[in-house]
Every structure is written in structure tokens, then in C-alpha cells.
């Protein structure tokens, strides 16, 4: 059987498992609604500050919400694989005549699907709340695709932790480790408004470049001097993190 076909079957099974927990589907939606309502409208007058790059704060936040959704669900993929390992089903898969890599690939594709679903919900809600995507329809597609790729890259971190520790509590708590990476960014304010150690931290945080690349498509359109660095960081992050996850996976599966 071909690698693609095996991956497809295992991927379908993973998605079925994910969808079988209603909270898995509902929580991203609740999360997004919360952020738009709590921060989007009440803080809207921030855009009146001189030099603020957007005239709609909800549009400015959209990038952060997309990135945050991915980061906060980063442990889900690792947790799903760990559940299979602890239940013994993972060994069942290893015993079958499938390429071992197809199991990992299916997990990463499931992570991408999860990120896709989250991105669709976020974009839909943003549109309903009146956010205007300056990048147009192509911009919407680009933003969704970048979120999916970021989801695949970020889930690799959760996978590595799950495969290395094989510990449920540690894997579940992964999001706490990466929580600062979302907030040490220009999530709420552009860099020009930041100072001191915070500004330095933002400058070296790779997640910030991805966030800015996504956000600029929403609030300003095709500004390549911001999009390209974000894309490069995203590609680099994906290559490094998925390769590292593959290495950990290979060690764990012999």
C-alpha cells in the first residue's frame, strides 16, 4: 500500500477521534469569541493613537487570535499520540505493514486540519464582526494557509515533548511553556509603541515574525517587507521543528 493511502486512512481515524470530543470542536470557537468580545470592541479607541497601523482594532487583533489559537492547542497532537501510545493502539499501528513515517505524517496533517478549522472560524467571525481584510480574498486564503502551516510546525513541539517524556501531565502542560511566546509579541501593540526589555524580547521571538506577517495581510494588504520575513521564519520553523519531531519519533519507534 502506498505511503499516501496509509497516511490518509490513519489521518481519517485521527480526525474521527478528535471530532469525537465535542470540546475539541467547541473550545476554539469559544476562545475566539471571547477574545474578540473582550478585547476587540472595548479597546477599539487604541487605534486613535498617532501612528497606529490599523483603523480597526479587531482587524489588528485577528492576527494575534490566529497565532494564539495555534499555540494554545499545540499540545493536542502530542497528547493524541501519547494517548495512543499509552492505550497500546500505537503498537497496533506499528505492527501493521504501514510505513512508520505515515503515522507521524498523519498526526501532522491532523494538526494542520485542526489549525485550518480554527482559522476558518476566526476569519468567519472576524468578517461577521465587520473586519475588512485589506489583502482581499487571496489575503484570506494566505492567512488561513499560513495558520495551517504554523499549526503543523507548532504541533511538532508538542509531539517531541510527548515522545520524549511519555508523560500525560507534562504533555498536557506544554501550552504553559509556550504561553509567553504569544504575549512577548506585538499581539496588542505595534513594535513602535513598545520599549525596554519587552521590545528586545519581541525582536528575537520567531512567533512575532509569523504574527506580523499574518497581521499585515489583514490590516494593510500585501506589504512584502513584513510578509517575507514572516514567511521565511515560518518555513524555517516548520523545517526545523518537523525534522526534530521526526528524529524523536524515529528514536521512539526504533
Amino acid at each position: 500500500m502506498s505511503l499516501l493511502r496509509e497516511t490518509y486512512y490513519i489521518y481519517l481515524r485521527n480526525v474521527r477521534v478528535w471530532l469525537s470530543h465535542p470540546l475539541n470542536v467547541a473550545s476554539p470557537i469559544m476562545f475566539v469569541v471571547f477574545f474578540f468580545l473582550v478585547f476587540g470592541t472595548p479597546l477599539s479607541s487604541v487605534t486613535l493613537l498617532p501612528g497606529f497601523p490599523a483603523d480597526d482594532y479587531k482587524a489588528f487583533l485577528t492576527g494575534m487570535i490566529l497565532v494564539q489559537a495555534v499555540v494554545f492547542s499545540g499540545s493536542d497532537t502530542g497528547f493524541a499520540m501519547l494517548t495512543d501510545i499509552l492505550s497500546g493502539y500505537f503498537e497496533k499501528l506499528l505492527l501493521s505493514p504501514v510505513h512508520r513515517f505515515s503515522i507521524l505524517l498523519a498526526s501532522l496533517l491532523t494538526a494542520g486540519t485542526r489549525a485550518l478549522m480554527q482559522a476558518l472560524v476566526i476569519v468567519a467571525l472576524a468578517l461577521v464582526l465587520g473586519v475588512s481584510f485589506k489583502g482581499g480574498v487571496l489575503g484570506i486564503i494566505a492567512v488561513i494557509l499560513m495558520s495551517c502551516v504554523f499549526g503543523i510546525a507548532w504541533s511538532s513541539l508538542g509531539l517531541m515533548i510527548a515522545l520524549k517524556t511519555k508523560n500525560v501531565q507534562v504533555t498536557e502542560s506544554t501550552w504553559l511553556l509556550f504561553f509567553p511566546l504569544v504575549f512577548l509579541t506585538t499581539a496588542f501593540m505595534p513594535k513602535e509603541f513598545l520599549s525596554g526589555w519587552f521590545r528586545v524580547a519581541v525582536s528575537v521571538n520567531p512567533v512575532n515574525y509569523v504574527l506580523e506577517g499574518i497581521r499585515v495581510i489583514v490590516v494593510e494588504g500585501w506589504k512584502w517587507d513584513v510578509i517575507l520575513p514572516g514567511l521565511w521564519v515560518l518555513v524555517g520553523m516548520t523545517v526545523v521543528l518537523t525534522s526534530a519531531a521526526a528524529w524523536f519519533y524515529r528514536r521512539a519507534t526504533g
Binding site: M1, E6, G88, Y89, E91, L94, P97
Partner: protein
């Protein structure tokens, strides 16, 4: 790995062929210490041994779940290092710890297994229905596997191992934790499968299971095979009936070494070994020699508190080769396990 690079491919028709297999875990535990095994096609073969003997490790190496440290092995004519995919296509494996997709419905789980083994969706569906019928789970096929009882989980696990009609079935302690009725039913299934030509390689700690099912067994202890043959031949090797004596300690501890030496001197005694607080004595005819033995011990101030006479069991075979009983190993393991589980926040097995 060097062995398999230099050695020629296997040409032996045996279903399982193992030469000098060694497995050392990280940390240094030598779980398998140079074993040789041959299982013929169509045979019902068993590994009998206590917890920690290396039975499951051998099976996991042969099924390509674990890498060996050294040695060679072929399964269904395929080298486990050079052709792992071919090995997996030719085996079904029902493991000691049943690993199932708990959120899948029974039938869907089997269909997925079929798909992974290359069956078309239609074939996988047909095969799933056939197997559900075989293992008596048709009525619960629409329920999630996570709702099944322990016995049902074992049965669907067996069905999953058979979905692709493998010529070789690995079963790692398949009846652990099952009630007697379910165990008997499973034994019947396995005998039927073997009658249909499937080679079965089983591991067990249960002597009755090995005795009933296996045409040939290998007794394994601490990573090594200590005896091999048919259950009947192995028991005949023990040399006769076994008289088990325990001594009355009410008037002080009995000197076991002295008692052993006394008994050993008698011409009708084949072998005598300490066994707990007594002795295990092998004689040609237990019934005839028992009165003489008891008189001898009483004359020397040794009072027997309890006795039994039995024909040799595989436990006696194990005792002969290792100096220990399988039962005491299994019981000790279970006692520790049961004692520790609450502390670890786990329920009883």
C-alpha cells in the same frame, strides 16, 4: 546487525527460525540471552516461563516491534532486519496488553485494520463481519470498543490479528485476566485456527495452557531456553511421580539439608530438591514408596505436616531445570503488582 549483513539469506522453510538471539535493553538488562528456536509451519508452539523470563521480548523482536541486539531471525521466510514489512504482512499479533482504538465501533475498528493491511473497503467490511461472527461479537459490533468487557476486548483483538489471514499468529499470554469460561472458549478458537493450518506461537505462564494447546514448548527462564520438547516428553524427563512434603515446624525449624540428605540416600529416590518449607521428591512410583519415606523421616524425628503425590507437571520440569517453581515466580510477581498499584493510583488488575 553485523550478523545479518554478512550471513546469507535464510532458505529454511521453518515458519520461525531464531539463531543466537540476544536483546539487551538500554540500561543493561539482558532480557534475551542467546536463544535458538525453530517453529515448523502448522505447529502450535509455546514459550512457557515466569514473569520477566524474556517471552514477550522475544515475541516483540520477532514481530519487529523491538530491534534485536545480535543474532538472526526469520519469520515466515523473511529476515526480520532486511524485510520487516514482509514479516508484518505475514503475522498477526495479539499482545498481552490489549491495545485497541477505544473510540471506534467494533466493526469500524476491524475494517480499519483490514484497510491498513491492504484490503479494499469492501473486502475489509466482509472480513470484519466474518471475524465478528467467528469470535461471537456480531451483536456488539456497533458499540464502541471502549465499552467492551475484558473478554470481549481479547476476542476483538484476536479478530484484528486475523483480519489479513496471516499464516502465523503470535499470542502473548492471550488468556491473562480472563474468567475460566472465556479462557476455555478462547482455547477452542485457537485450536480451530491451528486445525485450519495457521501456525500459532504462544507465550504463557500457565502450565495448563501450554499442556493443553501446544504440540511443543520451550521453557524459558531469565532469557534462556532451559528445556524444549513436547509437554509429554518433558514431563517424562522428570523421571516419575513427585511427592511434595511440607514439614511440621511446631517443635522448631526442620533442617532441610539433613532431611534432603536422608531422602537422597534411598535407592527408590530419583531426585530430591528443597521446595519452600519442605521437599519435592521424585520417585518411580509415588504410591509404593510413600510409606517407606514417611517411616524414614519419622524415625529421624521429622514430622510431615502435609503431603501430596502427583504425576509430573510442567512446573516440575521447570523446577528440575531452574531449581524454582513457575507458580512461586508468578505469585510473587502478582503480589508485588497488587501491593504497588494503589500507591501508583492504579486500580487492581
Amino acid at each position: 546487525m553485523a550478523d545479518s549483513r554478512e550471513a546469507p539469506p535464510f532458505s529454511d522453510p521453518a515458519m520461525v527460525l531464531v539463531e543466537k538471539l540476544v536483546k539487551v535493553y538500554p540500561g543493561g538488562t539482558r532480557a534475551v540471552d542467546g536463544i535458538d528456536v525453530r517453529v515448523e509451519r502448522g505447529e502450535f508452539f509455546g514459550f512457557l516461563g515466569p514473569n520477566g523470563a524474556g517471552k514477550s521480548t522475544v515475541m516483540k523482536v520477532l514481530s519487529t516491534l523491538l530491534r534485536k541486539t545480535s543474532g538472526r531471525a526469520s519469520v515466515a521466510g523473511h529476515d526480520i532486519d532486511r524485510e520487516p514489512m514482509a514479516v508484518r504482512r505475514n503475522i498477526g499479533f495479539a499482545m498481552q496488553e490489549v491495545g485497541l482504538d477505544d473510540l471506534a465501533k467494533g466493526r469500524d475498528f476491524l475494517v480499519m485494520q483490514g484497510l491498513l493491511y491492504g484490503l479494499s473497503r469492501h473486502e475489509a467490511g466482509r472480513r470484519a463481519d466474518e471475524l465478528l461472527e467467528l469470535v461471537g461479537l456480531t451483536s456488539v459490533a456497533g458499540r464502541k470498543v471502549g465499552t467492551y468487557s475484558g473478554g470481549m476486548r481479547r476476542r476483538i483483538d484476536l479478530a484484528a490479528a486475523l483480519v489479513h489471514r496471516p499464516p502465523l499468529l503470535f499470542l502473548d499470554e492471550p488468556t491473562t485476566g480472563l474468567d475460566p469460561q472465556t479462557r476455555l472458549a478462547l482455547w477452542d478458537h485457537l485450536k480451530q485456527l491451528n486445525d485450519q493450518g495457521i501456525t500459532v506461537f504462544l507465550t504463557t505462564q500457565t502450565m495448563e495452557e501450554a499442556d493443553r494447546l501446544c504440540r511443543r514448548i520451550a521453557i524459558i527462564d531469565r532469557g534462556r531456553i532451559v528445556a524444549e520438547g513436547s509437554p509429554r516428553a518433558l514431563k517424562a524427563e522428570v523421571g516419575g511421580d513427585v511427592i511434595s512434603l511440607t514439614f511440621d515446624q511446631a517443635n522448631g525449624e526442620v533442617d532441610l539439608l539433613r532431611a534432603q540428605a536422608l531422602v537422597r540416600e534411598q535407592p527408590y529416590v530419583v531426585d530430591v530438591k528443597p521446595a519452600g518449607t519442605g521437599l519435592s521428591i521424585t520417585t518411580r512410583d509415588g504410591g509404593a514408596t510413600l510409606p517407606s519415606l514417611l517411616r524414614l523421616l519419622l524415625e529421624n524425628g521429622i514430622v510431615v505436616a502435609n503431603l501430596s503425590v502427583s504425576s509430573p507437571t510442567l512446573d516440575d520440569v521447570f523446577l528440575k531445570h531452574t531449581g524454582r517453581k513457575i507458580r512461586s515466580e508468578a505469585a510473587a510477581g502478582n503480589e508485588w503488582d497488587q501491593a504497588l498499584r494503589p500507591w501508583l493510583g492504579l486500580g487492581k488488575r
